[in-house]
Structure formats: structure tokens, C-alpha cells
């Protein structure tokens, strides 16, 4: 190991000009992108980390269409698939954020974030970067769900623009909802607890909604919950945008929920993060 005893090699100064003079916000965004790329590399190197956005929506689609579809939609599995797919998309994209909270929790336990905190970068950049990287997972989920759904017989009856709008709304919702999971990730002691706690929130939201069956079939007290459930509005909006029907009210509700989730949970998560690390 004689190499080590040599001095730190000197690069010519022009090679190593740090661009410190750029505006703060540009530097911050660059740091977020660099950290997002780190998260992406990690995700793509552990393909099992993509199960919840690839295998899971496909299983849900097949399970509900072929096992329950006939009974729920009085024999027509194709009709039920038209109804179900936007619901599965909404449900799984909301669940997709859970793993981020768990991953961040284990990153902090391992001390990786100490390194980031000792660097002259924005305090929240590692969190924002991780959330940015999650967009790629959401897009994978959308492509797989729509692709498999179409093979199974799902058809979009509106325009391309409306469909893109629906996808954008779903990804946007996921980006706001993920802060709940990030917040839990900062508060929980172990990454296993993050998953457990997050499921406790996502499960009632996804079953107490219009994901699997129309709201009208439920008892009144449950309908009251379903009607304020953000997931119901997201799914209602995606249904309208994919298969036709009214969507404006649901889109408005969804945007409202997105703003509320982001404004409440993003600051809470960042504050919990600062306290934690």
C-alpha cells in the first residue's frame, strides 16, 4: 500500500473549479437532482424494490377482475375492468410511497445522512431528492398497470390529452401523499414500523373508497367517509378522464387534498428530519 504514503495528488486548479458562484436556488435544485440520482441508482440495483409498482398492481388487477369481477359486475368482467383499473391505479400509486419512508428510515440508521448533513447543502435536499426519484417508480407503475390492463381488455374512451391528465394527476397525488410516509419514516424507530404504520393508513383509505365498488352500494355511514376520502376523489377523477363521465369536481377535490397533504406533511416531515438527524 505504498500509494497511500504519497501526498494527495494535485489537480490543476482549472480542473476543479467548484461553481460556487451560481444562485442559491440553482445550487439547491442541482443538489436535489444529484441526490435523486443516488436514490434511482439504489432502486434500480435492487429490483425487488420495484415489486410494489410492478407485480403488485398486476396481481390486484387480475385478482379482482377474474375472481370478484364476475360477482361484482353481474357477470361482465370486461365492464368491471373498465371500472376497476382507474381504482387500482389510484390505490397502488398511493401505496407506492410507503417504501420511501421505510428506505429513508434505514438510511438514517446507517449514518449515510450524517455525511450529507456535514456538507454545505440545503438541509432538506436529501429528502426532496428522494421524493423526486420516486417519480420514476410512479411512472413505472402507471405504464405497467395501463399496459397489462390494456392486454386484459381495458380501453381509454376519452382523448389522449385527458388520459395524460389522469396520469399526471395520479403522479402528482402520489408526490403529495408520499410526504405522509416520509413523515412516518422520520418518526418511527425502525423501517419495519414505517411499513406497518403506513399500511394502517392506506388500507382503510383504499378499501373505504370507490376503488373496488361504487359508493352507492355501501351503507350511509360508510358513504360519508368514502365521499371525503381523498383516494375516492382521485379515483373518480381518473375514471372520468380515462373512461368518460364527469371529472371536474373530483379533480378539484383531489387538487385541494394534494395541497393540504403537501402543506401539512412536507413541513412536518422536514421538521422531524431535522430533529432526527
Amino acid at each position: 500500500m505504498s500509494i497511500i504514503t504519497a501526498a494527495d495528488p494535485t489537480t490543476t486548479p482549472t480542473d476543479l473549479t467548484a461553481r460556487n458562484d451560481r444562485p442559491k436556488i440553482i445550487k439547491y435544485l442541482t443538489h436535489c437532482v444529484v441526490l435523486a440520482r443516488r436514490s434511482l441508482i439504489k432502486t434500480l440495483r435492487t429490483p425487488e424494490a420495484l415489486v410494489d409498482v410492478t407485480v403488485q398492481p398486476v396481481i390486484f388487477l387480475a385478482l379482482f377482475t377474474y375472481i370478484f369481477g364476475g360477482a361484482i359486475a353481474h357477470g361482465s368482467q370486461t365492464d368491471y375492468l373498465q371500472f376497476l383499473l382507474p381504482g387500482i391505479l389510484g390505490q397502488t400509486i398511493a401505496m407506492a410511497g410507503i417504501s420511501l419512508g421505510a428506505n429513508l428510515n434505514s438510511d438514517i440508521e446507517k449514518g449515510v445522512f450524517d455525511r450529507f448533513r456535514a456538507l454545505p447543502i440545503g438541509r432538506s435536499a436529501p429528502l426532496v431528492g428522494s421524493v423526486m426519484a420516486d417519480i420514476v417508480r410512479y411512472l413505472i407503475l402507471v405504464i405497467i398497470t395501463l399496459g397489462v390492463g390494456m392486454i386484459m381488455g381495458f380501453r381509454i374512451h376519452t382523448s389522449l390529452g385527458a388520459a395524460i391528465g389522469g396520469v399526471g394527476l395520479a403522479v402528482g397525488f402520489a408526490l403529495c401523499f408520499v410526504w405522509v410516509s416520509v413523515f412516518i419514516g422520520m418518526k418511527a424507530r425502525t423501517s419495519g414500523a414505517v411499513t406497518g404504520l403506513s399500511m394502517l393508513i392506506v388500507m382503510p383509505l383504499s378499501f373505504g373508497s370507490n376503488v373496488f365498488v361504487p359508493t352507492g352500494t355501501m351503507p350511509g355511514w360508510l358513504q360519508a367517509f368514502v365521499k371525503v376520502n381523498p383516494l375516492s376523489h382521485l379515483v373518480g377523477a381518473i375514471r372520468g378522464l380515462f373512461t368518460g363521465g364527469a371529472w371536474a369536481t373530483d379533480v378539484a377535490w383531489t387538487l385541494g387534498w394534494m395541497a393540504a397533504l403537501l402543506l401539512v406533511f412536507a413541513p412536518l416531515a422536514v421538521r422531524a428530519y431535522r430533529k432526527r438527524v
Binding site: A6, D8, L16, R19, R38, R45, R115, A118, P120
Partner: protein, 318 residues
Amino acid sequence: MTATIEASGLRKRFGTTQALDGVDLYAEQGTVLGVLGPNGAGKTTAVRILATLLQPDSGSARIAGHDVVAEPQKVRESVGLTGQYASVDEDLTGTENLVMIGQLLNYSGAPARIRARELLAWFDLTEAADRPAKKYSGGMRRRLDLAASLVGRPSVIFLDEPTTGLDPAKREDMWDVVRNLVTEGSTVLLTTQYLEEADALADKITVIDHGRVIANDTADGLKKVIGGHRIKVRPTDPGDLGRLATLLTRIGTGEPEPTGRNTLTVPVADEAVLPVVVGSLADAGIGVTELSLHLPTLDEVFLTLTGKSTIEDEAEAA
């Protein structure tokens, strides 16, 4: 000379534990400050405060002229930190880890890659550059972690127990790295549990215990107080212990003390005494199974400085 590390009256409490109880630290530019203390003395807490990872309850600290509480970003620009546990990203390769740090320090892609390649070569990690860090050995991970803290050519480097858990050969390598950094003008704060390490590297040594500074001196100054080298002898026949004690009293600079089963340890003036001991043992016909020359262990340092051994402390705490 200018003070690069200057801390006074640092206090930090975690629940009922007073981790730091008024610690002063001082290092001039281009020197190594060794912070010596047992586990739980407050070394890591002090480093975390100086590296802006923790805020002190009271007291103040300036690193390279910037206050750690008021101007943390300025401090972070001048500081490189290597923690007790290697905090590299295990899923990323060596190159990816270092390039990422470079980019977070505002280098664009090409310069960050150049710097990463240099550091990997310097730390003998070129062959492992494209392997994920989780496949690295403990020593390689340490080196990558240290490389990561040097990407931005920091003027102040904190090394928190950099050699704990490394085998002796790797420890020597790490020492060489530290010496080189100082030659280039960096200021290093190094925490350690080994007096030998502090003696080998540090210009000044601050000994802390229970969150307080109990000594602050040069290695030589400290050795004057706690005694320098010690000779440890274990006779083959425990019946010779009495004669051995008489012999060691004559040669040593203090009273021989029993250390461990059937062994005696005595402080001596310097390492030149070793042949004398060997000769005297031969003359007296005392056979030995163990004979060694060493610097006082941390426990012996504490015994001298506080009259209490760190082991007794732990027993008290338990």
C-alpha cells in the same frame, strides 16, 4: 499562528447524561489535535458539535474563523468529517460515492469524476472503483469514507476514531495519510482511545473523561506526568515475582505494579532500558514468558490522571 479549531465551554446534555460538561479545544493551523478518552467520554459528541451536526447547549466554537452555530454552512465548506462507522452508501460504487460528494460540493460532472479517480488511486481503491461499497472489506470502506471526506480539499478534517477496528498494518497506513494531510497544511482533529496513536500523530493531546478536559498537553508533556514507556514482565515461575520486583525497582523510575496474572509493570526512563532489563534478568537467572515495552494504556493514563481506572468507572456505572 492562527487558531483553526477553537472551542470553549462546550456543554451538551442528552436526557440525564451530561455528555459534555464544559470542554475547551484548541488547534492551530497545520497541526494535529488528539482527543484522547475512553468510550462514552464525550469525544464523538464534541466532534459532532464542531462539524455542525449537533448544537451545543452552551459554549461556543469557531472552525476556520466561522462560528459553528451562527454560520454552519461556512463551517461545512471548510470541514471534512470521517465518522466512527463508515458512512458511505453501500449500494453505490466507490466512484459513484465520490462523484456524488463532488457534485454536492458544486463541482460539475467532469471535475467531480477527475477528483474521484485521484482519490481512489490515492487510497489504493482503483481496482474496486466500480464495485458497490457493500462488497468492500472493512478497511476498504474506511478508506473510501476518508476519501469521501477529502473530496472538497477541506482545510479542517475531523477523524472520529479512524483506526478503531483496523488491524495494525492498516492502522499504520491511516497514520501516514494523516501525516500527509498535515504536511499539506490541513488541520486535523483526531479522536482516539489509544495513547500510542495520539503520541504518533498529535502535536497536542487533550484528554477528556466524563465530558471534562482532564489534561491538555503535548505528547511529551503528558508522558512526563503519566510516565513514558513501561516494561511489562511475566516470569516463568510465579515464585520469582518477589525477586523480579526488587530488580525492576532498581531499573525503573517508579514502583512496579502488578498488572494481570503474575505480571509486573514498571515505568522506565526510555526505550534504551530494555537491553538492561534483559541483561539483569539473565544475570539473576529469572526466566520470563513475556517481556514487552509499551506506552501506558488508556487505563493507566486515567489511573495516573484521575486516580481512577476506566474499568472501575464502568463497574460503577453498571
